[in-house]
Symmetry: C2
Subunit: 97 residues, 2 copies
Amino acid sequence: MKQNKDLYNDLADLFKTMGDQTRIKILFCLSKKEMCVLDISELIGMTHSAVSHQLANLKAARMVKAIKKGKEVYYSLDDDHIEKLFDLAIEHVKEGR
Amino acid sequence: MKQNKDLYNDLADLFKTMGDQTRIKILFCLSKKEMCVLDISELIGMTHSAVSHQLANLKAARMVKAIKKGKEVYYSLDDDHIEKLFDLAIEHVKEGR
DNA sequence: TGAATATATGAACATATATTCATATATTAA
DNA sequence: TTAATATATGAATATATGTTCATATATTCA
């Protein structure tokens, strides 16, 4: 198993990042359109701080990217793998109901 | 967002379950062939107890199924969504290197 | 410049969770 | 039945992590 150590680690990190309700909600918001911190925190009903912290996590995991426009920072999904992962996961989850 | 509360919850749970190195390794083992606890613990170098606990988690998350054969319990992946999720995730992870 | 707005971030706290250890259950073989 | 083997599981410990609070930084506008 040793040769795959880094891969397992990276995969675990990716899934760990997706394994939180707040981050899931944020990613769903961003799958609709790019948004800034206040937009998101209003939509999901959490403090700016909590959202900002989680966006930092998501950015560190390269799942979202940020573009500064004036005072605001607009976030969007980094690539389309994320949405595909959601689609598959939703399929799995719904089948089990 | 309220109408999706359960979905977010289920998705978070699914990804949370996949967000652990030990469970990732176990799932990789089982993607090769069905195995019992001792096989897995030897392959990944962890105690039976740790593996058994994690298999219980994976089973509760409906990601693996178990069949008892004599003294041994053989585990295998519950469905092929899991492998597809891995494939996509690996794609994402590898692109970022 | 100063005030207001948007975001980021460090520290602290609370909670969740993975592993270990000890023990229990179940099956097979002697 | 007893011993051996395979697995399961409860409790305890250690660690990781999410949220809050306070504060810092950056940008815009008056």
